[in-house]
C-alpha cells in the first residue's frame, strides 16, 4: 500500500459520481463523515459517499479497508462514533436495525445471510413478514427470476450451493421491495460464471425497475464492470470516488488499491 494515495481523499470530477454532497441535494443514500470503531480500532474514518437512485455504486478496497463495517454502520448493526446516514434525506443514523427494511433499505450481509435451518420458501417468507400479507405472484416473480431456487423451494437452505444461496438472499431482499439494496461481497466464493450471472441480473433490475444498489466488493474487476460509480476505500478512508469506467482505466490506482 502506498502512503501517498491514502493521505488525502481525491474527488475527481465525474459528474454524478462526485462525493461529499450536502444533506439537501440528490442522493438516495448519503453517508456523511461516518466514523466507526471496534473498541480502539477505527474501522471507518470520516467516510462520505452518495449512492444515487437508479445506479449501482460499488465500494471497493482490500480486506480490512472498512467495506463491511461501512454497510453494517449504514444499516445500524454498528453504531457510528460520529457522522450521519441519510436515506431519501431522512436521518436514519439512530434508527433501529429492524426498521431499516420498512424504510426501503435491504441489507444482504456478508456470507450470504440465508437462514440455513429454514426452507427456501420460509426464507423468502421471513423476508416479506414485515409487509403483512404478500401476494403469491410476488413469490412467483422471485422464483421466475431464479428458477434454480424454485426447484428447491421446500428444501432446507443449508442444502443450497453458494450460488443458489446468493440467489435466495437477493430474491428475499427483493421481496421487501427496497429502494436500495446493500450487498456485501456477493461474489465471495462463487464461480466467475455465477458472479457474471448475478451481476447481470442486478444490472437488469437497476435499469428496468429503478432499483438502486450499494455493492461492497473485493472483486473489483467484476464489480466495476457492472457498476456506475466506484468508491475506493483504504484503511477506513475514501481514497477516490469516480465513475466506474474512469477507475477501470486508472492503472496506478488499480495496482495500488484494487489488486488487478
Amino acid at each position: 500500500m502506498t502512503e501517498a494515495h491514502g493521505a488525502t481523499a481525491v474527488s475527481r470530477s465525474g459528474g454524478s459520481a462526485a462525493s461529499g454532497g450536502t444533506a439537501t441535494t440528490g442522493g438516495l443514500l448519503q453517508v456523511e463523515d461516518l466514523t466507526s470503531s471496534y473498541g480502539p480500532v477505527r474501522a471507518l474514518d470520516g467516510v462520505s459517499l452518495t449512492a444515487e437512485a437508479g445506479r449501482i455504486t460499488a465500494v471497493l478496497g482490500a480486506n480490512g479497508a472498512g467495506k463491511t463495517t461501512l454497510l453494517r454502520t449504514i444499516s445500524g448493526l454498528v453504531r457510528p462514533v460520529s457522522g450521519r446516514v441519510l436515506l431519501e434525506g431522512h436521518d436514519i443514523t439512530k434508527a433501529p436495525v429492524e426498521s431499516m427494511v420498512a424504510k426501503g433499505m435491504a441489507h444482504v450481509p456478508e456470507g450470504r445471510g440465508v437462514i440455513a435451518e429454514l426452507t427456501v420458501d420460509e426464507n423468502l417468507r421471513v423476508g416479506s413478514l414485515f409487509r403483512g400479507k404478500v401476494g403469491k405472484d410476488e413469490f412467483d416473480r422471485v422464483y421466475d427470476l431464479f428458477p434454480r431456487i424454485a426447484e428447491r423451494r421446500n428444501n432446507a437452505a443449508h442444502t443450497l450451493s453458494g450460488g443458489e444461496r446468493q440467489m435466495l438472499v437477493i430474491g428475499r431482499a427483493l421481496l421487501a421491495q427496497p429502494r436500495i439494496l446493500l450487498l456485501d461481497e456477493p461474489s465471495l466464493g462463487l464461480a466467475p460464471r455465477i458472479v457474471a450471472q448475478i451481476f447481470g441480473l442486478l444490472r437488469q433490475l437497476v435499469d428496468s425497475e429503478g432499483l438502486s444498489v450499494l455493492l461492497v466488493e473485493q472483486n473489483a474487476r467484476s464489480a466495476l464492470s457492472v457498476a456506475d460509480v466506484g468508491v475506493v476505500l483504504n484503511l477506513g478512508r475514501v481514497v477516490v470516488t469516480d465513475s466506474a469506467s474512469t477507475l477501470m482505466a486508472d492503472e496506478d490506482l488499480r495496482h495500488a488499491y484494487l489488486g488487478f
Binding site: 429492524e98 420498512a102 441489507h107 445471510g113 437462514i115 413478514l129 414485515f130
Partner: protein, 294 residues
C-alpha cells in the same frame, strides 16, 4: 405381564412430564443459547399460584389456566428484565444469573407460600379403567398427563409451522442478525419465546405435582430428570427433548420396577444413562452437525 404394562405406562407418563420440562429448556436454548437453570423454580412458583387458587375455592381447571398464564408472564418478565442485560455476553454470566434466579425464586416461594408440605389435587382418579373383570393399569390421571403434554406440543408445532409469528420466532432463534435485517422485531420474539417456554415448564410442574405433595423444592428431582432428558436429546432439538424424556421415563420406571432396591437407584440411573449417551454421542442423540450461523 400386567406388571410390565403397568411399569411401562408409569414410565411413559413420567417421561411425558420430563419431555415437557426438557422442551422448555430446549426452546430457550435454541433461541438465546442460555440454559435456564431457573426453569424449575419458575414452574414451582406457578404451581403454588394454582394451589393457592384451589385452596381459595377455585376449580382445578381455572387454577391450571391462571397458572399457565402467569407462567407466560413470569417467563416474559424474566427475559426482559433479568436475561436481556446478559444476552450475547459471556456464557458464564447467563449461567450465574439463571442459577441465582433459581435460588431467589425458590426462596420467594418459601416466604410467600410457606415451606411445609401441602397436597396438590389431581382432577382425575388414579384407579385403572375396568373392562369387565380385569383392571387395566392405564389410569385417567396418566391419560390426562399424556394428553395434556401431547396437546401442548401439537399447539407448539402448529404455532411454529403454520403461523407468521412462529416463522418470525424461528428466524430469530436461528439467526438474530439476519432476522433483524429482514425487519423481524427479534427482541419481542425472544420475550415471546421465553414466555412460551415458561408455559411448557409450568405445565410440567403442575402435572408432576398432581396427586402428590408440593413444597418449595418439590421440583428438584424433575429438574434433574428434565435436564438429563434435554441433554440426551441434544439440547438443540425439540424432537430430541421429547424422545429423551420418554426414553428416560421408561428407563427409570424399569429400573425402579425391576431392579432390586430399584427406587433407590433411580436418580443415579438417570446420570448413568446420561453418561452413556454422551460417551457414544457427545452432542446428544438428535444433535445436528449443521454449523450454526452467527
Amino acid at each position: 405381564m400386567d406388571y410390565f404394562v403397568n411399569v411401562t405406562i408409569t414410565g411413559l407418563t413420567q417421561g411425558m412430564i420430563y419431555a415437557a420440562f426438557a422442551l422448555a429448556l430446549v426452546l430457550i436454548w435454541r433461541s438465546t443459547r442460555i440454559v435456564n437453570f431457573a426453569q424449575g423454580s419458575m414452574a414451582a412458583a406457578t404451581t403454588f399460584i394454582a394451589l393457592s387458587l384451589i385452596q381459595a375455592g377455585a376449580s382445578y381447571w381455572v387454577a391450571l389456566v391462571v397458572a399457565l398464564a402467569s407462567g407466560f408472564v413470569l417467563g416474559a418478565i424474566v427475559e426482559r428484565v433479568i436475561i436481556r442485560p446478559v444476552e450475547g455476553g459471556p456464557e458464564l454470566n447467563a449461567v450465574i444469573v439463571t442459577l441465582g434466579l433459581f435460588v431467589a425464586i425458590q426462596a420467594a416461594i418459601a416466604i410467600i407460600f410457606g415451606s411445609s408440605f401441602q397436597s396438590f389435587p389431581t382432577p382425575f382418579g388414579v384407579r385403572g379403567f375396568e373392562i369387565g373383570e380385569t383392571t387395566i393399569p392405564l389410569t385417567p390421571t396418566s391419560l390426562y398427563v399424556i394428553g395434556a403434554v401431547l396437546v401442548t406440543m401439537a399447539l407448539l408445532v402448529a404455532l411454529f409451522r403454520f403461523t407468521r409469528v412462529g416463522l418470525a420466532m424461528r428466524a430469530s432463534a436461528f439467526s438474530q442478525e439476519v432476522a433483524r435485517l429482514l425487519g423481524v422485531k427479534v427482541g419481542g420474539m425472544l420475550t415471546l419465546g421465553w414466555g412460551l417456554a415458561a408455559v411448557v415448564g409450568s405445565l410440567s410442574g403442575l402435572l408432576i405435582a398432581g396427586g402428590t405433595f408440593v413444597y418449595p423444592a418439590y421440583m428438584d428431582s424433575l429438574i434433574v430428570f428434565g435436564f438429563v432428558a434435554a441433554i440426551i436429546g441434544g439440547l438443540d432439538s425439540p424432537v430430541g427433548a421429547i424422545v429423551g424424556g420418554l426414553i428416560l421415563g421408561l428407563a427409570l420406571s424399569y429400573v425402579s420396577g425391576y431392579a432390586p432396591r430399584g427406587s433407590a437407584l433411580v436418580t443415579i440411573s438417570a446420570l448413568v444413562i446420561l453418561i452413556g449417551v454422551l460417551l457414544v454421542r457427545p452432542g446428544g442423540l438428535f444433535s445436528s452437525t449443521t454449523a450454526r450461523r452467527a
